[in-house]
């Protein structure tokens, strides 16, 4: 697979911006470049999206290509599939991932299977963007992390950018990908700032990033959890001289086994940290895959650190108890390292 462009192309100028704007950059860039690309979703046009991601697109590209929709998630995705079959490159926004089960059938049974079931005749190049992340005040219908629930369904690609530069580069890859791509955008990261190269570059789908090099323990994570994992790694270094290697998946499907296994083969210890449920989902797949491949190298079990198996609660203390925090990550790491 092509080498990812981790940084700006030497030539390109770099702008500092928030992750949210990195996504918008990708949409603007590709809409200008490719007439087939259009955006639709609830409140994405006049209002610029519930989180402002699509702000300004209506003014720049007009109402034919930037469309507010009725509250019809299954219809939105279904229309996107039809438009894609007929040659367009739709990008839809589903306001938050708790709503994905409403369009589950269209995504997993149709978009994801169409290329296969038409004998390779009809690809379905759609991008479904949605927000994930558990926070106080969201509650059981507004604050889920179901990104892992899509992994068992073949035919989907799933990305979760954590830096503004990756957000732009991964989105550009997603829009140009002939397959349906789900993009999970973390509530916790929309505001995070970072440098974003101008112009055209892509971050390939299917490639994880080593965010921190270390020899004692590999922590695999994705999305908003990266912030807590990085802090925990700092603390472990300061307090105990423990060198943690952090792998940011960036792509959840297909998984970058090569990068993950290479790291664990080196550190001999692996921990998966995810904001999603501790039962099933992403943490389970990663733990199972790693021990299957590196059983004899491992010095301890692959440890899963995920959200307690509850609906996302409304009240702050309940959310804090449910979602993995820096302390829990740190404690689990020490337990695994037997210190």
């Amino acid at each position: 697979m092509a080498k990812p462009m981790e940084a700006a192309p030497a030539t390109a100028a770099v702008k500092e911006m928030r992750l949210q704007e990195g996504i918008r950059e990708a949409l603007r860039h590709e809409m200008a470049r490719d007439k087939r690309v259009f955006v639709m979703g609830e409140d994405v046009a006049m209002f610029g999206g519930a989180y402002g991601v699509t702000r300004g697109l209506l003014q720049e590209f007009g109402e034919q290509r930037v469309r507010d929709t009725p509250i019809s998630e299954a219809g939105i995705v279904g229309l996107a599939i039809g438009a894609a079959i007929n040659g367009m490159r739709p990008i839809v926004e589903i306001q938050f991932c708790d709503l994905l089960p409403l369009c589950m059938d269209q995504i997993v049974t149709h978009a994801a299977r169409y290329y296969y079931q038409t004998g390779g005749r009809i690809p379905v190049p759609i991008v479904v963007r949605s927000k994930f992340g558990t926070r106080p005040g969201g509650g059981p219908s507004h604050s889920s992390c179901n990104h892992g629930a899509f992994i068992p369904f073949p035919g989907l690609k799933i990305i979760a950018p954590t830096t503004p530069a990756d957000a732009k580069g991964l989105l550009l890859s997603a829009i140009r990908d002939p397959n349906p791509v789900l993009c999970f955008e973390s509530h916790h990261l929309y505001g995070v700032k970072g440098p974003v190269p101008d112009g055209d570059y892509t971050v390939p789908i299917g490639l994880a990033a080593v965010r921190r090099a270390g020899k004692d323990l590999t922590i695999v994570t994705c999305g908003g959890m990266i912030l807590k994992v990085e802090e925990a790694a700092e603390r472990l270094k300061e307090k105990k001289q423990i060198d943690v290697e952090i792998i940011d998946l960036r792509t959840l499907a297909p998984l970058d086994k090569e990068t993950i296994l290479k790291s664990v083969a080196k550190t001999k210890r692996a921990m998966i940290v995810d904001e999603g449920p501790i039962v099933g989902g992403l943490v389970a797949e990663l733990a199972a895959m790693i021990q299957e491949n590196l059983f004899s190298d491992l010095k301890g079990p692959v440890v899963r650190v995920g959200a307690h198996h509850l609906p996302p609660p409304h009240s702050g203390p309940l959310v804090d108890a449910m979602v993995p925090g820096v302390e829990r990550i740190e404690a689990e790491a020490l337990r695994l390292l037997g210190s």
Binding site: I71, L102, G138, P140, S141, P317, L318
Partner: protein
């Protein structure tokens, strides 16, 4: 026509509904609540008109903009306020927040933040009544935007097909978040859709509490007689932004907002009562002051109430005892 006592009680209840919203917004501004309020101000006549027409055993299902319905159906304000603030004394122990509640002790089937999702609950509750021949009627409240959700279509088709004792109340405040009705559907009135399901649909002034009560009573009577479902589209307007922190002016003209504020449901009923000599300004002030004072007390208690203990709730997801005893 309604007697004075009932009319005054409706007026008092509308003030209560509004006072709750205003106090909650106040606490939100002070960062005392988790999440955002969805203000019901401007729509009080619907919740109060509908709930005043129902009997104790009747049931309602609500949605994200649900505090008005919950208050009007008879919730305890302290427990409701506690839930908004994520306190252990809240109806849902702080787990759900105001968008995720339910308590059959006052006929509240529940609400959720997923637009349209509770409409089949009201429909299914009506099915239960039909199967066991019990008297209760179920009301499904929803916003105009919910009419474009597939499951709402499916539920209404069931109601028409099986002649279920359910009343669908659309609170058409002309906008679904920032998207106006003209940009959501290609029809003039959502009530027209009832014909697609084989039951009666009617579009009425949702800011006239007495009218809403009358129509609800008719629909409930019909339902109890086995006449099946009714759809009531109540035309109204949300005074505030979609939720706390969203001014609601980016996609709505100030004139439009002002226009609608002139049609205040509370002022409307108040003037009627005064004109009919059933109420005096002084009396009104007294009622209003009492309600706002009550809210102050409720809020103070709720703010002081305890948050849920972090770990305690961790295996609260499965019901243990056999359901319903």
């Amino acid at each position: 026509m309604l007697n004075t006592a009932k009319r005054k009680e409706m007026l008092r209840m509308m003030i209560k509904v509004r006072a709750f919203e205003e106090k909650l917004n106040d606490l939100y501004q002070k960062k005392a609540m988790f999440g955002n309020p969805h203000s019901y101000r401007g729509q009080e006549a619907i919740a109060v008109g509908v709930c005043s027409a129902l009997e104790k055993e009747d049931l309602i299902a609500s949605y994200h903009r649900g505090t008005g319905h919950i208050v009007a159906k008879g919730a305890d304000l302290y427990r409701l306020m506690c839930e908004c603030l994520g306190k252990l004394d809240g109806y849902s122990k702080g787990r759900g927040g105001k968008m995720h509640m339910g308590d059959l002790s006052f006929g509240f089937l529940g609400n959720t933040g997923t637009v349209g999702a509770t409409v089949p609950f009201a429909t299914g509750a009506a099915l239960a009544a039909k199967i066991r021949r019990s008297r209760e009627v179920a009301v499904g409240f929803m916003g105009d935007g919910a009419m474009n959700q597939g499951v709402v279509h499916e539920a209404m088709n069931f109601a028409g097909l099986w002649k279920l004792p359910v009343i669908y109340v659309i609170e058409n405040n002309l906008y679904a978040m920032t998207v106006s009705m003209e940009r959501s559907v290609a029809i003039k009135q959502l009530a027209e859709r009832a014909a697609a399901y084989g039951f009666e649909g009617k579009s009425i002034d949702g800011n006239d509490a007495e009218l809403v009560l009358d129509e609800t009573q008719r629909a409930a009577e019909k339902a109890r007689q086995g006449g099946g479902a009714t759809l009531l589209e109540c035309m109204t307007y949300r005074w505030d932004g979609h939720f706390g922190g969203e001014p609601g002016t980016g996609y709505r003209a100030r004139e439009e907002i002002e226009e609608w504020k002139k049609r205040c449901p509370i002022m409307g009923l108040k003037q009627k009562l005064i004109a009919a000599g059933e109420l005096t300004e002084a009396e009104y002030e007294k009622i209003s002051a009492a309600v706002y004072a009550e809210l102050e007390a409720v809020a103070a208690r709720a703010v002081a109430a305890a948050l849920p203990a972090a770990e305690a709730e961790l295996d609260s997801v499965y019901a243990r005892e056999a359901a319903h005893g």
